[in-house]
């Protein structure tokens, strides 16, 4: 009987201990969840708010028309614009990973035309030089080849890697078979600076705040897209262009309509 009483007491005590442990574990899980949620909120905020201020450009002395650099059929049913900074890593990733598919399956098939607009950000030291390098390659009909070389080799010429990017750009000029003297003259004179500033001003006018930013049909989409997302926006814009031919391209996109 006495033993039973003692055992019963132990049972109650272990029950109490177990309950206390359960409460302690519950409190711990709540703390863990709070830390995770707080961290997730900070990351989402980092993803949404760029750490730089939008570029305000002064009008160039001789205003140039913001025409970007065209790829594909200008009369394609959907018009795509990309505002990008040659030194921005996300733009580089998009160019290397996603853009080849976009060109092969969307631009070359005539679904959309593609225009690249320089949007050099002030925090990137060599980006303006890179925009000039690409613009001077465009004079010799090799903008896109230079565009690809710049994005592919970003780590070797960016502002962290060198303060003399021209030496590295000259390597690409030679590899692409451009006329080196003509390119160098164009680059040193900053012949296309106004064109670059006009492209940048077009981005500011459209309230581009981060790079890359895409305008696909009527939607403006900040951030690098993967191919499926890109295609969904193009399909959606294509559908809209068939039903409503008048397009205005200043709205910020939420998601493509299905």
């Amino acid at each position: 009987m006495a033993n039973k009483g003692v055992d019963g007491g132990r049972g109650r005590r272990s029950g109490v201990v177990s309950k206390q442990r359960g409460n302690s574990a519950q409190r711990f899980y709540v703390v863990l969840a709070l830390v995770a949620v707080a961290g997730a909120i900070l990351i989402v905020r980092a993803a949404r708010t760029p750490k730089f201020t939008p570029v305000v450009t002064t009008a160039p002395v001789t205003p140039a028309q913001a025409e970007g650099y065209l790829l594909g059929n200008p009369n394609a049913p959907v018009q795509v614009m990309e505002f990008a900074d040659f030194e921005c890593p996300a733009c580089g990733n998009f160019s290397v990973i996603t853009e080849p598919d976009v060109r092969a399956r969307i631009v070359n098939t005539g679904l959309a035309s593609y225009r690249f607009f320089d949007f050099p950000l002030p925090m990137h030291k060599n980006t303006m030089a890179a925009s000039n390098a690409a613009a001077c390659a465009a004079d010799q009909g090799k903008f896109w080849e230079m565009h690809d070389a710049l994005f592919r080799n970003q780590p070797e010429w960016n502002g962290e890697a060198t303060s003399e990017p021209k030496k590295i750009f000259l390597g690409y000029v030679k590899t692409l078979g451009l006329d080196t003297d003509a390119w160098e003259k164009c680059f040193d004179e900053q012949k296309h600076q106004n064109r670059i500033l006009a492209n940048q001003a077009e981005g500011s006018r459209r309230q581009v705040q981060s790079t890359p930013t895409f305008v696909i049909g009527t939607r403006m989409i900040p951030g690098a897209l993967n191919y499926d997302q890109f295609k969904a926006y193009v399909d959606s814009a294509s559908k809209e262009s068939r039903t409503a031919p008048v397009a205005h391209t200043d709205s910020i996109a939420k998601s493509p309509s299905k």
Partner: protein
């Protein structure tokens, strides 16, 4: 119990750091908040990808594994499991070695430091210390 809870908490911190760097690498986050060092140089270098997967994503996998082990090992039924303690030491030990190699690359090959990567490396050192303390405490405990 307490040590496993501490490990779970450290794993969540690691998951947040690794997620931040992975989201940057895949382009969801445009600019890294990097008050010290050159995060962009490191995270755009050729060393930032292993077998086609961003290093940060590998880190994410390691931290998630740590979290799962710590949570499972923190339950009443398994809080004295020496097997889990050994798995934790193995995971943390491997991660410390891997982080050391990455830090070596930052210092002597890339010549740039990413403060988030260094924080993660230090985090693994702390995690390994807790894991070793956990294993030693369990090895000393009398068998039941």
């Amino acid at each position: 119990m307490r040590r496993r809870q501490a490990l779970a908490l450290l794993a969540v911190v690691g998951i947040l750091i690794a997620s931040y760097l992975t989201l940057y690498k895949v382009g969801v986050i445009g600019v890294l908040s990097c008050s010290v060092g050159s995060c962009e140089t490191v995270n755009t270098s050729k060393w930032s990808v292993l077998l086609g997967v961003p290093i940060a994503a590998w880190g994410l996998v390691a931290y998630v594994t740590l979290l799962v082990l710590a949570l499972v090992g923190g339950t009443e039924a398994r809080e004295e499991s020496v097997t889990i303690a050994r798995l934790l030491v193995a995971l943390a030990g491997w991660s410390v070695l891997f982080s050391a190699w990455l830090t070596y690359l930052e210092l002597f090959v890339i010549h740039a430091i990413c403060i988030w990567c260094v924080t993660s490396a230090l985090l693994w050192v702390v995690i390994l210390a807790v894991c070793i303390a956990d294993l030693r405490a369990l090895s000393r405990a009398p068998l039941r």
